[in-house]
């Protein structure tokens, strides 16, 4: 009986772990997208800031285009649907979707948390990373001069 129970439990565990591996969604920064470090044909998340002035609505009224930046690199995003209440130009955003062959990120989900000053941590990190790389770059420039 115990053996049978353990067998079922291990089968369930194996199944859960397989499902887990298959459905993980990784997070990338716009810089990583630009460097082609992202998976092809698989959903992932990108985060950063919505570039001010980049939000455009297509003629159907429901499809939205905007650009996400980590201050170093930009990624154009297309999303069809209603944006969350706190989606704003100049504010942090995290979005999930797939990268098209045209370099446009086709989002299936746009996340902006419910707090006026809140920057999704992933988005904040992406910007911080890019900025620290920039700083290093300027440092090396200065030093090489």
């Amino acid at each position: 009986m115990i053996v049978f129970g353990l067998a079922v439990l291990s089968a369930a565990t194996a199944f859960v772990l397989a499902a887990f591996r298959e459905n993980l969604v990784f997070f990338f920064t716009p810089t990583q997208v630009e460097a082609k470090e992202v998976p092809q044909g698989r959903a992932f998340r990108i985060g950063g800031m919505v570039v001010p002035g980049s939000v455009k609505r297509q003629a159907d009224g429901v499809t939205v285009e905007f650009v996400v930046t980590d201050t170093a690199k930009n990624v154009p995003v297309v999303y069809k649907g209603i944006l969350p209440d706190l989606f704003k130009e100049g504010k942090g955003v995290v979005t999930q979707g797939k990268l098209g062959g045209d370099g446009v990120f086709y989002a299936s989900e746009v996340l902006a948390k419910h707090d006026e000053n809140y920057m999704p941590p992933a988005a904040a990190d992406a910007i911080k990373q890019a900025q620290s790389i920039n700083q290093k770059a300027t440092h090396t420039l200065v030093e090489s001069k």
Partner: protein, 658 residues
Amino acid sequence: MIPELGQLALALALCLALAQSLLGLIGAARGEVQWMAATRPAARGQFVFVAIAFACLTASFINNDFTVAYVASNSNSALPLHYRIAGVWGGHEGSMLLWILMLSVWTFGVTLFSRHLPLEMVARVLAVMGLVSTGFVLFILFTSNPFVRLFPAPPDGRDLNPLLQDPGMVIHPPMLYMGYVGFSIAFSFAVAALLSGRLDAAWARWSRPWTTAAWCFLTVGIALGSGWAYYELGWGGWWFWDPVENASFMPWLTGTALIHSLAVTEKRGAFRSWTVLLAIVAFALSLLGTFLVRSGVLTSVHAFATDPTRGIFILALLTIVIGGSLLLYVWRAPKIGLGGGFEPLSRESMLLMNNVIFAAAAGSVLLGTLYPLALDASGLGKISVGPPYFETVFVPLMAPALFLMGVGPLARWKKASLPDLGSRLRWAAAAAAIAALALPFAMGRWGAMVALGMLLAGWVAASGFVQIWEKVRNVQGPSGAWTRLQSVSRATWGMLLAHFGVAVFVVGVTLVKGYESEKDVRMEPGDTTEVGGYTFRFDGVRDVTGPSYVAGRGQIAVSKNGNPVTMLYPEKRIYRVQNQPMTEAAIDTGFTRDLYVSLGEAVSDTAWVVRVHHKPFVDWIWGGCLLMALGGALAASDRRYRLAARQAPEQYATAAAR
């Protein structure tokens, strides 16, 4: 003055909690009757002082006392009274105080309804609850004090988070916490039993009604939270597998397993050490849930770094409670024994499978919730685990559990026979098969997942009717069917009702997943759109003013085949103090469907993007949860527990003698 009184009351409650645990533990170890007897008054006193502290904080909220930092950051003078009261548990500090209040309410309950338990047992149970309470009050006093003053005081408060300004949010946290904290009783009983080395049927019978009651509160709490997310977030979803939701779902899954394994321990004396382990784990997950949601670790794992005292205190508390009880378990569990044996086909074996499945389900949620956090905290990268993972996992895990739910209650203890079960359940199987084949067609479209859901729901419900039918038929004597039904215990009715609730829940989930439809459309006044056979006409948006917000209120006329059905008024609100936009969906609730409309944003002076949902049978989801909770309440009120409590001392004595 009032906040200082509150703080003083909390300090006194701490002293009493300490006294309660030391008197209980040492008294029980030494056999000092006086000491053990003192735990009851100590626990009651603790309850009184915690209640005073809570009342003081509430009074500060009602009086708009913005010299109190916590009030200033969670309330505003423009808030209506009921939201000012709800503001008490709108933030971290107040939630912790609510947690303690719930714990002292449960402790008070134990002092009232334990008169027939052996004194030694009561003393140890109260001692363990006192220890938990001590840890939490210390946590509040040293790291999360809600009574801290703010100088200079701001002229007005920063307002309660607009998302929480909702009737559902007024009762959701107290319900949820009643559930979380209620598992502390099962935990305390388990630890007390480990300390005394005596775990028998009587122990299981004492902790059963408490555990079931806690489980009912948790069920209602989770259902309220899900309902709130459904109408308040404006997305039309009812469960997002968000870490905050998962945090409450893990104790629920373990608690469900615990209820079932307690049944085996009470009736058959089996699964003892497993039951004790489950009781410990259920409470550990409740603690984890409280902290996951309240410590800010979910918003950012780095929140721990900005306020290390809180984080370290939390980790220390978790380590002591979980680690300590698990150590005790490892040390004492071998003495507990395994209890009666059983055949591979028996009610015990089916309940064992139930436990394995629920444990695996809780484990899978734990993995999906904590792994991303752990990875992020160790700087190895950011990942997220979304609904697809949980959905892939839960369907295959829960399908066998639902199948067993139809068989288990009919199977005999110790040894069941397959042909016997087959013949008793053949009609139920036939009914389930018909439901699987016919109902999807009745809904308009056949689909494999819908058929599976209907099959399992039909199976569980039909098996319930078979059980009732057998009760009516099997009772001997000339009495009529009605008297026979009256002789069925409340515990059995409760089980039937709860399982029926599961069937209702499964119907809701299956049909809404299978047949829901939604549309995001740009609408000018006068435009119409059709969703789920209903026609929605947009009549424009006008401005309205609420107590703490301004809003654009849309008007949408719904009709079906030209006949008017209802008018819907969704709103887009801007809460003034925090300048935060909020979508307020408008819902027409019905027995077989919800019509759900929310406003997106204005795309021109008159045109808006509007989201329209048609959600068949969605309310059955929460209806099912309520039935489960009602069933649990019925079972917990069974006469047997009260009678058994009265007979308990003798039984306990004989059990000990053995």
